[in-house]
């Protein structure tokens, strides 16, 4: 999966979308919706919330695309809206009130069901381990490792320092390693067929 910022939106389509052309707006949506939704699903545990955030993101895009100033690519601009939306949600009292519910592994697993192209084996374990990280750690990991954010950018987005981002990333990687090691040892100890 390419980074969202690298998604190529033809200049002619971007220009038409900025002027409000409905077909161009839909074309921009079709080009970016999948990666943006994947980003949201990785940041937010609940599929229903990710769908809400996707919707809110693109409503913002439709409303404000005329003001887009081309300081970055259009895809990067849309990504920044989605990330801001997701981080606002993760910091909200509403999300915090549900954290204890999501901490239940059975419940969390139910919420993180992979899509039709479900990850199996090692990828599946990694996806599940990622979802077991605390919300902000998960966001730091995904934004840094997959979306290519710098620690300065993550610090700004989270209202924290770059050092906070660095320490979160380091701890999250260690936690991921632990979780994956644990999953592997469980696999070794539970043969599929009786002896």
């Amino acid at each position: 999966m390419p980074r969202i910022a690298d998604i190529g939106i033809p200049d002619s389509v971007a220009a038409a979308a900025r002027s409000g052309d409905p077909q161009a707006l839909e074309a921009v949506y079709r080009l970016t919706a999948g990666p943006i939704y994947t980003l949201l699903r990785r940041l937010v545990r609940r599929p229903a919330i990710a769908e809400e955030l996707l919707q809110e993101t693109f409503v913002d895009v439709l409303e404000h695309i005329g003001a887009f100033e081309e300081r970055c690519s259009l895809a990067a601009w849309i990504r920044s809206i989605a990330v801001n939306r997701a981080l606002m949600y993760l910091r909200s009292p509403w999300h915090r009130s549900l954290e204890w519910l999501d901490a239940d592994p059975r419940h969390a697993d139910g919420l993180t069901i992979e899509g039709p192209k479900a990850a199996a084996g090692a990828d599946g374990e990694l996806a599940r381990a990622l979802m077991r990280l605390p919300a902000l750690s998960r966001a730091v990991v995904w934004l840094h490792d997959v979306e290519g954010y710098t620690h300065i950018e993550i610090g700004l987005a989270l209202g924290r320092t770059p050092s906070f981002s660095k320490s979160q990333l380091s701890r999250a990687h260690a936690r991921l390693r632990d979780l994956l090691r644990g999953a592997a040892s469980i696999g070794e100890g539970t043969p599929c067929t009786p002896a």
């Binding site: 839909e26 699903r41 919707q55 693109f58 509403w94 490792d145």
Partner: protein, 168 residues
Amino acid sequence: MHARLSEWSARLAALPDFEPPADAWQAIQAARRLRGSTASLRWPSALAATLLAAAAGLPFLLPPAPREPVSVIGPTFDPASPATAAIQAQNAWLESLLAALPERRAMRGSTAFTVSQLEDRLALVDDRLSRIAMEPNAPEFSERLWRQRVELMNSLVQVRYADAASPL
């Protein structure tokens, strides 16, 4: 160190993508129209737009089966200010959304606990609202209580919506 970082990057980036809902674009357009017409309704309006746009694909919204009255009924209160009236309208809208959500025969214990807690807090707010006329500074106090009620209703709708949207 950098080799390890790039290893994580490669593994995470290789995870499968998710497909957005097929009707998401229609829901986005509906939500945009709704946001333009009712700027004060934010999350609830988006949620409503999702539900409305998804109605064709969600069988649970289609059968107009007789239902029990809404589980949480808002108190009646003569609005003292336009602000309170607007909040009450938002509250009524959330009530209607809640009524449109399916009643599941079974619910996760933890979800049921959350729903129960929210309903208890709603009952507490309703009780205070029913006695608001006797309070000093009743209009300001009632507006605050109505805001609390809308927040609780919003949470309740979202919990119930998430529950309805996820497999048990």
